[in-house]
């Protein structure tokens, strides 16, 4: 290898006693793409932050090809200013000036539009507020902003987590063009298919250090290196759905931004919902949970019509929702594991409004055991747990409600492989016990392997239903994209 554009040598970093990195090293050549893979907490994000100069290493050094190398970083957390427009965000700090040196506001959208078009982005309105565009669009703008600064080293931390296939293809096009122009690129991802399709080199991380760098490596071998143990398969073995009774039906149910929807969900089945982001999945799931409810149509619970206009109606009807964004929609991070578990079932755990703390303690202890939640105690603030364990607490909360219908909305996003595996096993086990599971995922591979059948949504309507024997990631993506390839991506408000 020629002299690397950027390299880390024996880098260590601790955060208040927790070792995030211990003697990690990587070297990235000009004009190459270097993937960092590993479980959550393996130290990838920390290394990216150190390479980008955001934080300093405790030990070791970062060497660059030149003293004034331009390094651009796309962080895992989005950094757009929500109440500024897309154009204002893109041009922040380099706004066009008019006479008197004042900012030329009229020129900004045009300038931003031209720069975006230069990167092949034409479907995002530069006049829209950052808060009003979809998560995927925000991610794209975030990436575009960094690319526009013409970096010589580009660091991407989980930049594809919010993107669907077509947008990932766009990003990879950009990455290839930058690589060919001599840019050194480092990226992290949890999606194996993406990693192999773009990376020239792959470095695997485990427990804060690099355990090997490869030009080609199989997924099984990589997972073994990442976790330190062989995983036979990530997905649970297929099993036939029990042909239980229909627990939940929708008849002509229409939410904001969707067509009237029909659906039957049986006990013992995992019904997948697929499709590109922003095509009405969220409206369907949140509509079923009354947040807000459907505008018209019927919901039937075992054949009897039920009215669901608020979450407590849904909970009473035995329906549970695990949302995608566990930090803002699911959990109470500063509150204890116990408080997070029992909030919806406090009625059962109290008498005359006063909590029966003994019964609550027993219930929580049992849940921690059943779900193998790794926490020092039930009093631990849930925010101190790892992402995967947080997700288990959230799932466990709804299992406690004895809801038989589980709406799982992209529950494995940003969760590491080992915990994903545990969550899949848990979901499969619940289906075997007779739970009815409606499962949305932005990952088509996951839908194809876990679900008994998959309904694909496009523009707020079901456009295809794939039975078990026709299920594959390719089929799901094909159904989601059909006829929509040329048009702009619509997004539900």
């Amino acid at each position: 290898m020629t002299a690397p554009a950027i390299a880390a040598r024996g880098v260590s970093k601790s955060f208040g006693g927790v070792k995030a990195l211990t003697g990690a090293s990587i070297a990235v050549a000009r004009g190459s793409v270097h993937a960092l893979v590993g479980e959550n907490g393996a130290g990838k994000s920390t290394l990216i932050k150190i390479l980008g100069g955001r934080i300093a290493a405790d030990e070791g050094s970062v060497e660059t090809a030149g003293p004034s190398l331009r390094i651009g970083t796309v962080f895992q957390e989005l950094t757009l200013l929500p109440y500024m427009t897309v154009a204002e965000n893109l041009l922040l700090g380099r706004e066009p000036r008019g006479r008197l040196g004042l900012i030329d506001r009229a020129a900004m959208p045009r300038l931003a539009e031209a720069e975006l078009a230069g990167l092949g982005i034409t479907h995002i309105d530069p006049r829209a507020l950052a808060a009003d565009i979809s998560l995927a669009e925000r991610q794209i703008i975030e990436i575009a902003r960094v690319i526009m600064a013409r970096p010589q080293v580009l660091l991407l931390d989980e930049a594809t987590s919010a993107l669907v296939e077509r947008e990932v293809a766009w990003l990879f096009g950009q990455i290839r063009a930058l690589r060919d122009a001599g840019v050194a690129i480092v990226f992290t991802s949890h999606r194996w298919g993406e990693i192999t399709s773009i990376a020239d080199e792959i470095t695997i991380f485990r427990n804060g250090s690099d355990v090997g760098t490869f030009t080609t490596i199989g997924e099984d071998e990589a997972i073994t290196l990442m976790t330190g143990q062989a995983l036979e398969t990530i997905f649970p073995a297929r099993f036939a759905p029990s042909s239980g009774p229909v627990l939940l039906s929708l008849r002509g149910a229409r939410a904001e931004g969707t067509a009237p929807l029909d659906l039957d969900l049986r006990a013992g089945e995992i019904l997948g919902i697929g499709g590109l982001a922003g095509h009405g999945h969220r409206a369907l799931f949140f509509g079923l949970f009354g947040a807000p409810g459907f505008r018209e149509g019927r919901i039937e619970r075992e054949g009897r019509p039920v009215r669901i206009t608020a979450p407590w109606d849904a909970i009473r009807a035995g329906i549970a929702l695990v949302p995608e964004d566990r930090k803002s929609e699911g959990l109470f991070l500063p509150l204890s594991v116990r408080d997070n578990f029992t909030l919806p079932i406090l009625r059962q755990l109290s008498r005359f409004g006063i909590l029966r703390l003994g019964a609550e303690h027993a219930t929580v202890a049992e849940s921690i055991r059943r779900l193998a939640v790794r926490t020092p105690s039930a009093q631990q603030p849930v925010g101190a747990l790892s992402g995967g364990n947080q997700q288990k607490v959230l799932l466990g909360r709804w299992l406690l409600t004895r809801s038989r219908i589980l709406l799982l909305y992209d529950v494995t996003r940003g969760v590491d492989v080992a915990t994903k595996h545990e969550i899949y096993e848990l979901i499969a086990g619940l289906a075997r016990e007779g739970y009815a599971i409606l499962f949305y995922s932005s990952d088509a591979e996951e839908l194809a392997h876990l679900c008994h059948r998959v309904k694909v949504m496009r523009r707020g309507a079901f456009v295809a239903e794939l039975p078990a024997d026709a299920l594959s990631a390719e089929a799901i993506v094909a159904a989601a994209m059909r006829e929509s390839g040329q048009t702009e991506t619509p997004h539900a408000a």
């Binding site: 947040a291 929702l321 109470f332 909030l343 919806p344 406090l346």
Partner: protein, 316 residues
């Protein structure tokens, strides 16, 4: 020994501050720590404590109630004008005063929860409206009945004692037990903390955020009215502006007591200690016989110093 949580430490700080201030008072003015002196300071602190109990509820969900001063004042005037200083009308008068406080609180809650009006704006407007109504209906205190005294029953409650401990402190102890218990071991308490920590997640966990918000503001109005009733019992006669100092002290007691001003954290024991600290501070400054303006400055500086200490702790 187990390490203490931030919450517990803050309560201990508030208690330590109260004790420290008592000691400073004794050094400045021997006799400050005598039984009657301490009892009278605690009685005055109890008025702050009652009002702060309500304020604590709304601040726990990230709200605030600025209508406290005139709800107190209106309750005091309502009590004296409807009872005309007689015990016979006292129960009805107390019910009317408390009912008025709860009604204003419900109105605040409705404005905030159903119409989405920011709490600062809603409760500030309510304060003005209640002030106007009180002045208008009482004729600006010119009518003969308005100069009535509080019923002897209430005056006894504010001045009397049982087993050597003032009645007002028994009442405060009862309220402290009730509020602390409600926050710690009831469904209501858990819902309050959940709502204050993450309103969206609380709603998605089945909590009726609107009903809880209205309920909490109603409680706040009720406690403000109770504070007004005790205050007029203590002073004997209602006066215009008697609630004014309690806007600042009720909020300061909550914050000194370790409740997060953004909601979700803290409990009433700390708030009670905060109420005592503030009252002792005023008494110490009085005992030091400072000029008025120095007292104001010292009061503000000490409160800022306390809050600065909390800010430091947050960074750890």
């Amino acid at each position: 020994m187990r390490t203490l949580t931030v919450d517990t430490r803050r309560i201990l700080y508030a208690i330590a501050a109260a004790i420290g201030l008592f000691v400073v008072g004794e050094m400045a003015h021997p006799g400050f720590l005598s039984g009657p002196s301490v009892a009278s300071i605690l009685v005055i602190a109890s008025f702050v404590g009652l009002v702060a109990a309500g304020q604590c509820f709304v601040i726990l969900i990230g709200g605030i109630d600025l209508s406290v001063p005139w709800v107190m004042n209106a309750a005091a005037i309502l009590l004296t004008t409807t009872s005309l200083g007689k015990n016979t009308g006292a129960p009805e008068a107390i019910a009317a005063a408390l009912g008025m406080g709860v009604a204003v609180g419900v109105a605040n809650g409705i404005g905030i929860a159903l119409f989405g009006i920011p709490a600062v704006v809603m409760t500030l407007a309510a304060n003005g409206i209640v002030e106007g109504l009180t002045l208008g209906l009482s004729g600006g205190f010119t009518c003969s009945s308005c100069s009535s005294y509080a019923p002897p029953l209430i005056q006894t409650l504010a001045h009397g004692s049982l087993l050597g401990i003032p009645d007002a402190l028994w009442l405060w102890a009862f309220v402290t037990a009730l509020v602390s218990g409600a926050l710690a071991v009831t469904r209501f308490g858990r819902a309050t903390y959940a709502l204050g920590t993450n309103p969206l997640a609380a709603t998605l966990a089945g909590i009726d955020a609107r009903r809880m918000t209205i309920l909490l503001y109603a409680l706040c109005g009720g406690f403000a009215a109770l504070g007004g009733i005790m205050l007029v019992g203590f002073g004997g006669q209602a006066s215009l502006g008697l609630g004014d100092p309690y806007l600042f002290t009720s909020i300061a007691a909550v914050v000194i007591g370790g409740v997060n001003i953004l909601g979700g954290r803290g409990n009433y024991l700390g708030v009670a200690a905060g109420a005592v600290s503030l009252t002792v501070l005023v008494s110490v400054l009085l005992a030091l016989s400072m000029p008025d303006y120095v007292r104001s400055i010292a009061y503000g500086v000490v409160i800022l110093a306390l809050l600065l200490a909390y800010g430091r702790e947050n960074e750890r």
